[in-house]
């Protein structure tokens, strides 16, 4: 048996057309949930971004002749190292986050203490600009670097001497990465289109494996499994299977210009580390950041920035994504952190000290509130409080049949959909014109302002155009009497004229296109 609908139904705005394919997949929702901040005014192009592997994961950005460390909480520069003689090309944190290595175009590699900014070691051996420097994942003693002299060098940092000189590339070496599973394997990419895998244990300094990307390689990274490598060159990003003998798994060609930098990002629910999946994030000169799901071989998200992008970094705790542009702007995407989590962690730490809670006494205010926040136990029968229907102000007024007040209150609310919905409801109650008649000058101004803004919006125009006409007819005397209202009318007139102009030009375009379409249809 049907229950009578005894609850009040609030007015609802019309539904918007849903796109055929849902615009927001859960994944793209995740990626767009990073709140973008801008850090402008770095002097020139941001050449590299590197995150510290230790919490709270500060990150280093290199640009011009300096290297700046940013704190992840405030996004302000915490310290800047500018003792470089040339443009800094790359920086890499050591696995404990205490040291950072940076290379510059003069061919020098410096290792700094992160805290004190003092240069500890200077590694000088490259004769040409160094393009990348990289610490292995678990090794604190060695470094790998490569540069325009087409050499890849494996350094012993303490003694400032290159242990190995890996020869084989025939052009500038642009990038390299250590394997996440072994500190003896590294991969480098060069402008000679090749990507070479090196084993530092092999004495004859020949590459273990070589794949051809087909374009000058800009960036190369290991994917977290250690078996796959992603390379960027030209406008393609390619995934290679190293275990399978250097077979290409997939080629992603979705950028329109050169891909400059790639990194590994992780997507998924914030809670539950296991729910996260790895993605390849790539940025290019076309200003796009693309998220590539190499498990499903699909682009899952794409985002546009207003400048060519040079470098990208993703924090190990998935809380931040930093993109550097060629005009010296850092676009920092920051995920909202759960403040409560941090706080509760702190509290639990403190509560370890006091084993017993204080006994409640009626002298505390909390005594009277005790037990209210109690959670129901497994077998408890929960008596639910009946859910209260929350009504908007205009709904409350409509419920009381105070139509004019409802219209005014919704006009105050600045939500055009709701205004139109209330107007439609008033039409259905045959009360709209009575309301318009009863508006005082101030409220009429409000209505005119709304009409000025939204009469020409196609979604609302069918109702609002007629209403505008009626309002002007009905309230012409009041409008004449008030300067403020006359101003509103002038604005309204302007927007109507603008709309008419647009319509005219659209008609012209239609006139041009329709014969073409007809001809095309005949064939």
């Amino acid at each position: 048996m049907a229950e009578p609908s005894s609850s009040f139904k609030p007015v609802k705005p019309k539904l918007k057309p849903k796109p055929r394919t849902p615009k927001q997949t859960p994944e793209s929702k995740y990626w767009s949930s990073f709140k973008t901040h801008q850090i402008p005014n770095l002097i020139s192009s941001v050449t590299s971004i590197n995150f510290s592997p230790t919490t709270p994961h500060p990150f280093a950005a290199t640009y011009s002749t300096s290297l700046t460390l940013f704190s992840p909480q405030t996004l302000s520069p915490s310290s800047t190292i500018s003792s470089f003689s040339d443009v800094v090309s790359s920086a890499s944190f050591r696995c404990d986050g205490l040291l950072i290595a940076a290379s510059d175009l003069s061919g020098l590699i410096k290792v700094f203490d992160v805290k004190t900014r003092t240069p500890l070691r200077k590694l000088r051996s490259h004769t040409r600009p160094v393009r990348f420097v990289k610490y292995p994942v678990h090794d604190k003693l060695h470094l790998v670097s490569g540069g325009d002299d087409a050499l890849v060098k494996y350094w012993d940092v303490a003694t400032e001497t290159p242990i190995l000189e890996l020869q084989g590339h025939k052009d500038y070496v642009r990038s390299g990465d250590f394997s996440p599973v072994s500190h003896e394997l590294c991969v480098t990419g060069s402008y000679d289109h090749t990507v070479k895998l090196w084993d530092v244990r092999v004495a004859d300094s020949k590459s273990v494996m070589e794949v051809n990307h087909g374009k000058p390689v800009e960036d190369v990274i290991f994917l977290p499994s250690g078996g796959l490598v992603a390379t960027a060159g030209g406008n393609t990003v390619k995934i290679w299977d190293l275990i399978g003998g250097g077979r290409m798994v997939f080629s992603m060609e979705s950028h329109t210009k050169t891909v400059t930098s790639i990194c590994v990002g992780r997507a998924g629910k914030v809670s539950g580390e296991e729910g996260r999946e790895n993605r390849v994030l790539s940025v290019g000169l076309d200003g796009y950041m693309k998220v590539f799901d190499y498990g499903r071989m699909k682009i899952t998200h794409s985002m546009r920035f207003p400048a060519p992008l040079m470098s990208i970094g993703f924090s190990p705790d998935c809380g931040m994504r930093v993109i550097g542009s060629s005009n010296g702007v850092l676009y920092v995407g920051k995920k909202k952190t759960k403040e409560e989590n941090v706080e509760s962690g702190v509290r639990s730490f403190w509560s370890l000290g006091q084993e017993e809670r204080r006994v409640m006494r009626p002298s505390y205010f909390r005594y009277f509130q005790r037990g209210q926040g109690e959670k129901p136990k497994e077998g408890d029968y929960v008596v639910m409080r009946p859910k209260k229907l929350k009504l908007a102000e205009h709904d409350k007024l409509l419920k009381k049949f105070r139509h004019k007040e409802a219209l005014v209150s919704v006009l105050d609310g600045k939500n055009p959909e709701n205004v139109v919905a209330v107007m439609e409801e008033l039409v259905a109650r045959r009360k709209l014109f009575k309301c318009v008649e009863n508006l005082n000058n101030e409220e009429l101004g409000l209505l005119l302002m709304f009409l000025h803004k939204y009469t020409t919006v196609p979604r609302y125009s069918s109702l609002l155009m007629g209403l505008t006409k009626k309002v002007l007819e009905m309230r012409i005397e009041d409008i004449r009497g008030s300067e403020a209202l006359k101003d509103q009318i002038r604005n309204l007139k302007r927007s109507v004229e603008e709309e008419i102009r647009i319509q005219h030009s659209l008609q012209e375009i239609q006139g041009i296109i329709s014969p073409l379409l007809r001809i095309a249809g005949r064939r």
Partner: protein, 753 residues
């Protein structure tokens, strides 16, 4: 044969003494509902005309509460005494006059519960008599009158005190306290003593009215229909057109509300159980209330009654759709919903709210659900609602598609399309018989094909995204498209462009052929089963029923008939039409049994212009017919047949009363069984004189029908009908005379037997 769809609110219901049962007058029977479940448990059958009142014999002692005796009165002029626990007829009193009401709760007579006063309302006056006590020798009862300036509609007496309340047409409630102390008092001295000081302090009392005071409460905006004192006399209940039950605290005038009942209130019934009462609403629903909290415990909902529609939608309104396989009818309701009513079980299944809006019964109608269509398998529904503009702005037509849920078997909204044909109204929606395709035709000169895309997307969890989207648009010479239909196999789409019929290939959206034309615009198109014939109906000044042959692309045959509804059998080539009789032929009829019969149902075979069988019906204007798949569990006889293709014809009249029967008449026993039901419109399902009006019915057909129908109808009186109809339409007298004499002779033999 099965009837149903009776009004539950034709007269006030009555509670049994234990408050567990509710007796409701439903047509010729009294249905007994359980108040705890809201379901029907029994019915009292026996009256041959609508039952007008039912009274339960009150229990004198707590022990007798289990006794279940009641009296019923009917228009057939009898009063019957029943034991409704069994249910069993105990006594029958024949009055031989239609009884319209029976105390103590008649339409406008009110009796105070202590039995001392009787009151009636007469325009702006209230007349109250005191009932003379039995032992007093007075023969003339005294009378007082209380005056008011507006017409009074309802009155109620206080259960213990001398208080009378009355409601008027403007929504005011007047409460007179201490009425009749002067006139009805025992000792005359006391009256004269009080008379003097009464002149000054009688607030609100008009003229010389005999009352201490009169207070006026005004909350209702329209006429007060329901007025009732609570059993302890502390509260006064009132209700009216707004569909709000108001509780007035009698001493203070403070009020409480039960809002949004959704329909004008008609009656309020108290039960012996003080926590239980019921209100009857105009939308054929009875709500059982838990009393002090005014909480609706259960609703007994009958079939929704048709509602009036504003001018422009009057003609095109069909108001209901039939589900062929499950025997449901979907009806548009006044509160912007669709009610699904089971024709086989005669009860409401559920309601779907089409438009999320608060319904104010008293307001002008501005939002209407104008059209409902169901797909042939009943899994898809489409509704059209229209918002009427205020002074030319704010109008909106909205097409909605609904999908049947797999587990709860209820329709849920799938797609909303605002202004599907710009601002033009929709004339018809039809579903493709096999695919998820629908067509909507509009007066704006185009039709659109809609397709449902069920795409299942894998996004972590499988979320289903289905929706209807426009597939194709078609138009023919910018003419208004007035009707649309798919052929049985779905290969042809017929769309009526006013007077011509355009045939389209729905797969390619290509115009195949144009056939026509008729004299007035076509309003209904339908393919006759799986045959090659198309049935079109046009109304207006020159109504026409036309059958078009698809193979010849030409008119096959046609009649000049005003057709109200068409139904096509699904698998056979036969179809049924509901035709309105011309005015002239109705006036000619003087026989009481044919009075009010304004329509006939004709079943045709598409190949043959001669009707296979005919029935005459009442209240055909606004009615409908449909073929339904036979539902074997409701009709026991069909079980033995094993014939799955059994089709039943359903006729629903303008009051939404319906009858289900077998149109081919090959089961005489079934028709015979239905006789004891004593149907209102169908007490004589006889061959009506179609031939006598139109002169087209050949003899052969006539005899065939008679053989099937005569044994079931012993009370047939064909001689009464044979001369009805306008004289110029009658066949020659020589033909009629022999038939007339023959029928008389038949009658005589029947009497002899």
């Amino acid at each position: 044969m099965k009837t149903g769809g009776k009004s539950y609110v034709s007269s006030p219901p009555a509670f049994s003494n234990d408050g567990k049962r509710l007796l409701v007058c439903t047509g010729n029977t009294v249905s007994i509902f359980s108040t705890s479940t809201g379901l029907q448990i029994a019915s009292l059958e026996g009256h041959t005309a609508p039952v007008t009142s039912v009274i339960v014999v009150p229990a004198s002692s707590p022990a007798s509460k289990i006794l279940c005796y009641c009296w019923t009165a009917s228009l057939d002029g009898s009063i019957r005494h029943w034991d409704f626990s069994v249910p069993d007829l105990m006594k029958k009193v024949d009055i031989k006059m239609p009884i319209f009401s029976m105390t103590p709760k008649p339409e406008f007579v009110a009796v105070s519960s202590v039995g001392k006063f009787i009151g009636i309302r007469n325009k702006r006056k209230l007349h109250i008599w005191m009932v003379p006590e039995k032992d007093s020798g007075r023969s003339v009862s005294k009378k007082i009158a209380l005056h008011h300036t507006k017409n009074l509609t309802v009155l109620a007496f206080h259960p213990s005190k001398r208080i009378v309340a009355a409601g008027d047409v403007t929504g005011r409630i007047l409460v007179w306290r201490g009425f009749g102390y002067q006139t009805f008092s025992v000792s005359d001295e006391l009256v004269s003593g009080r008379l003097v000081d009464k002149e000054e302090e009688r607030p609100g009392v008009r003229g010389n009215d005999d009352a201490d005071s009169c207070s006026t409460w005004h909350w209702h905006s329209a006429e007060v229909n329901v007025l009732f004192f609570s059993s302890d006399g502390a509260y006064l209940y009132s209700g009216g057109k707004e569909g709000v039950l108001v509780v007035w605290q009698l001493d203070t005038g403070k009020k409480k509300f039960l809002p949004r009942i959704g329909s004008p209130l008609l009656y309020y019934t108290d039960s012996p159980d003080p926590t239980l009462s019921s209100i009857s609403c105009a939308d054929n629903q009875i709500h059982i209330l838990k009393m002090p909290s005014m909480e609706i415990l259960k609703s007994i909902s009958g079939i929704k009654l048709p509602h009036s529609l504003p001018g422009i939608y009057e003609g095109l309104y069909s108001g209901f759709a039939f589900d062929y396989s499950s025997g449901l009818v979907a009806l548009c309701t006044e509160n912007y919903g669709i009610q699904f009513y089971s024709l086989f079980n005669d009860r409401g299944i559920y309601e779907v709210q089409v438009c999320e809006r608060n319904h104010q019964p008293a307001d002008e109608i501005t939002v209407v659900v104008t059209f409902v269509a169901l797909s042939q398998d009943g899994s898809m529904m489409s509704t059209v609602e229209a918002k009427l503009p205020e002074e030319g702005i704010g109008g909106l037509v909205c097409l909605k598609f609904w999908a049947l849920g797999s587990e709860n078997k209820k329709f849920s909204l799938s797609t909303v399309i605002y202004e599907p044909h710009r601002d033009a109204g929709i004339s018809a929606v039809a579903f493709h018989p096999t695919r998820n395709v629908a067509v909507s035709s509009s007066y704006g000169g185009d039709f659109k094909l809609w397709v449902c895309n069920d795409e299942i997307q894998e996004k972590g969890l499988m979320l289903q995204n289905s929706g209807w989207a426009c597939l194709a648009v078609g138009a023919y010479k910018k003419k208004p498209m007035t009707a649309a239909a798919f052929s049985c196999d779905g290969s042809v789409l017929a769309v009526a462009a006013e007077t011509v019929i355009t045939l389209w290939d729905p797969n390619k959206n290509v115009l195949v052929a144009v056939i026509g034309e008729t004299l007035t615009p076509i309003v209904t198109l339908s393919f006759a089963g799986n045959s090659e014939y198309l049935v079109s109906v046009s109304r207006g000044s020159k109504p026409q029923l036309s059958i078009w042959s698809m193979s010849k692309l030409s008119l096959s045959w046609s009649y000049k008939l005003h057709i109200e509804a068409v139904a096509c059998a699904v698998n056979l080539s036969s179809f049924a039409v509901l035709a309105l009789l011309p005015e002239s032929s109705i006036c000619m009829e003087s026989e009481p049994s044919f009075q009010g019969r304004d329509g006939i149902i004709l079943v045709f075979n598409a190949m043959d212009p001669v009707p296979v069988s005919t029935w005459s019906v009442k209240k055909a204007k606004g009615g409908g017919v449909a073929f339904l798949q036979g539902y074997t569990s409701s009709l026991k006889q069909n079980n033995s047949d094993g014939n799955a293709q059994q089709e039943l014809l359903v006729y629903i009249n303008s009051d939404r009363e319906y009858i289900l029967f077998d149109p081919y008449g090959n089961e005489a026993n079934e028709l015979g069984m239905s006789q004891q039901d004593g149907l209102v419109e169908f007490e004589e399902t006889e061959k009506f004189g179609y031939a006598s009006i139109y002169g087209e019915l050949p003899k052969l057909n006539l005899t065939r029908n008679q053989t099937s129908l005569v044994p079931s109808v012993p009370s047939e009186r064909p001689w009464e009908s044979i001369f009805s109809g306008s004289s110029h339409n009658l066949p020659p007298l020589t033909k009629l005379c022999s038939a007339f004499l023959e029928s008389l002779m038949e009658k005589r033999t029947a009497v002899v037997e």
